[in-house]
């Protein structure tokens, strides 16, 4: 049967890795936004060569499962780094390579595709008329971007970024596959000791649910606040 004391024991055990998971997801979100921003720029300005490369990458990222990308990175990245280390003549030991770096890199790149989409949408949401109005008043392009376009684009993008944050938190459950300990991984470790799988996975589900529900409430409140201005 369902042992509630084991459930709560697992629950509090899992809670200890929550800050780590939140931090990891935040780092991935920020890196994803940076890479996504660069992708958007390449796409908007149709920078030759890079533009085609980015299009192929985006198509790959959208067309393959995250788990497959993760495995690819896990087995491929150390080899790739080893290769470049050889070229540049510095020492690199693949056995010392922390898999969390694999997770950070592959997740950031994977989610950058979504962030790029969000950023593009946010910029498109600023009506061209406002940009013309700024120009007609004597704003330079940079001033228009800084004072008019970017502030509005951020307000537009933030709720979507926050949604991505939740998605990343949940997707990190796959990171167990490459031995990074997040919420789900912690649950598996807990159950490995006593074989109470149901309790520990129930505890993991509870933690995810609580976390996402709480963050959603906070984000909503925040969104309503900034929406008043738009």
């Amino acid at each position: 049967m369902f042992e509630s004391n084991i459930f709560f024991q697992d629950f509090s055990g899992i809670l200890t890795v929550v800050p780590y998971t939140l931090g990891l997801a935040l780092l991935i979100l920020i890196l994803g936004i940076l890479i996504g921003g660069i992708l958007t720029l390449i796409d908007q300005y149709k920078i030759p060569f890079l533009f085609q490369v980015a299009a192929v990458c985006l198509s790959f990222l959208r067309g393959t499962p995250l788990l497959v990308q993760l495995y690819l990175a896990y087995y491929g990245m150390p080899k790739l780094i080893l290769f470049f280390a050889g070229l540049l003549n510095f020492k690199f030991d693949p056995n010392q390579f922390d898999p969390v770096i694999t997770v950070i890199v592959s997740y950031s790149i994977c989610f950058s595709a979504f962030q790029s989409e969000i950023i593009r949408g946010a910029f498109m949401s600023v009506s061209y008329g406002q940009i013309e109005a700024a120009h007609s008043l004597g704003f330079s392009s940079v001033q228009t971007l800084r004072r008019i376009v970017i502030p509005q684009a951020i307000i537009e993008a933030l709720p979507n970024f926050l949604n991505s944050y939740l998605t990343i938190i949940k997707s990190l459950s796959l990171a167990f596959m490459v031995s990074v300990v997040d919420i789900l991984a912690k649950a598996k470790l807990e159950s490995a000791l006593n074989f109470r799988y149901l309790e520990s996975f129930a505890a993991a589900a509870a933690v995810y649910w609580l976390l996402c529900a709480m963050l959603t409430v906070v984000f909503r409140r925040y969104e309503q606040n900034i929406r008043k201005k738009a």
Partner: protein
Amino acid sequence: MLALKNIHKSFNDHEILKGIDLKINKGDVVTIIGPSGTGKTTLLRCVNYLEKPDEGEIAFSDFQLNYQSVKRKDILRLRRRTAMVFQQYNLFKNKTAIENVMEAQIVVQKKSKKAAYEKSLEELNRVGLADKLDAYPSQLSGGQQQRVSIARALAMEPEIILFDEPTSALDPELVGEVLNVIDQIARSGVTILLVTHEMSFAQNISTKIVFMDQGKIVEEGPPSQIFNHSREKRTKEFLSHFNSNYTKITTAK
């Protein structure tokens, strides 16, 4: 004070402006009328350099510019002397009414916040919106938004204000309040170049009417001439589609 010389503009090999010459004196209210698609908007946009003419010149009393060899500095100079009021108002959505009016004073004219605020207050007062300083555009009616955008243009103290059909996006009951504001600033001596389909309004406030058709100025002269004693058949034909019914509303709110 301002002269346009031989302005040409094409879009995709299709010539829209076929050599426009126009003189505007200080304090003039010049209204361009003409059929849809004739190039009225394009002409106004050329004056403000939102559109780059293929050929032509613009001359102010102390500053002249040939459109074929424009430098960035010239564009800024031109834009500082001209202000545009758009059909769709184009207010900055993330800024309140007063911030909309202050913004360019701070960014372009490098005024202090305080000076910009005081100037903006004065101009918003002038357009009758002293009680809406902190409203965002989404909280204002179309007529109020257009009046904010007029205040935004006035605050830059341009030598000329360009109005492109400032009332044609408005619900009929809001047209009056905006026309009244334009009427009032015209009387205060601001130089205006206006495009409108409000014929009786044009007849009322203009010092000069310009009738444009197919990228050319067909006829220009004082309102009485154009509306009552036009010499051109095309002008008469165009005007016969309109009947005059603008009556000044004295209580704009």
